[in-house]
Symmetry: C2
Subunit: 203 residues, 2 copies
């Protein structure tokens, strides 16, 4: 078995041929439901591979995605207790980012930039194998975080670090740079007929 | 606080108004990536709500979605050990369905029907709050499971039991009956440029 350009080959589970470890930029965007849930579903595969995952939620409310956060906390705990799966680091902007101890009324643009700077620093250090930048489209679309800087940092990141970006209105330059883009299109939605949000489904 | 038409109101977390518990039929379909991962991401919310979840994978290979299966097994174990979250029951057709002990070379049409019959029986009994019927579009599209029967069973299921169906080519009658349909559209995919599957991303 020969390596590719110095990258050590891996043979996961013995069922695949040698796989070259690339880094991937994945985008889940569009008006439909399932963007963030697809990212968090993908994170289950990363966890099962024993990868380290960093979640950065660029959302205002600290109460956002609490179901996913609770499940990932349980997976992180399972990793610490039994060694199965991988560790998960979870940060939410709406809580002021855990490393900042910012207040809830902090400037969202400054918070978003602080979040991105943390991601950029972790990418440079190779802290995680998977980064889920949930709702990161919004600070990008609003110009709070510079698209050119993001693409530059991503282009220079050491492999293998995968990055998933979710949210509506991802800037075209980010779509162009992505290895995989899925657009979630809303075909039917219960809110259209006046239904209310449901626990376990919407949060 | 008044109930609606005999359905007891709930007030999850105290942050929402009273929510009428409906049952939902959700469909993730289309050619793009993220259908099953969106369903399994949504299941994390159900788990965090303490719901019982039943996963039925209508796929041939027993090795399918092993990452998600491992993560859900860890969440089920966390529930049993600490009481947090909810229980998860996981069945894969490619393994012959656990309750059947069928052989790997069993007739896939018969296996698919046996899987659906189990789901129908559980729906009638109200065993789970969430059912993830992964790749169920395929036996429906092939006529192995009758669409009319499925819609009839779903229409008569006791509330609140949510059902998520994933896969390409979901029959139109199922789409019509669904409360939410998201079509995952492929905008870009690394396989288009000849990239190979990656551990932690594709499985």
């Amino acid at each position: 078995m020969t390596g590719h350009q110095g990258v050590p080959p891996v043979n996961p589970g013995g069922t695949q041929r040698e796989v070259r470890l690339e880094h991937r930029l994945l985008v889940f965007t569009g008006e439909g439901k399932g963007k963030s849930t697809a990212a968090f579903g993908m994170g289950l595969r990363a966890w099962a591979q024993g990868w380290s995952t960093g979640v950065f939620q660029f959302v205002k409310s600290a109460k956002w995605r609490t179901g996913e956060a609770a499940a990932y906390a349980a997976l992180d705990e399972a990793h610490r207790a039994t060694g199965q799966g991988g560790p998960v680091e979870w940060h939410t902007m709406g809580a002021g980012w855990t490393w900042l101890r910012a207040t809830a009324d902090a400037d969202p643009a400054a918070l978003a930039r602080a979040g991105w700077e943390k991601v950029a620093a972790q990418l440079a250090e190779g802290v995680h194998r998977l980064y889920i930048l949930d709702e990161f489209s919004y600070p990008l679309a609003r110009g709070w975080v510079d698209v050119g800087e993001v693409l530059d940092v991503l282009a220079r990141r050491p492999a293998p670090q995968h990055v998933v970006i979710t949210g509506r209105g991802v800037p075209p330059a980010v779509l162009d740079a992505a290895d995989l883009v899925t657009e979630m299109t809303k075909v039917a939605h219960p809110f259209d007929r006046g239904a209310k949000g449901q626990p376990g489904i919407e949060w």
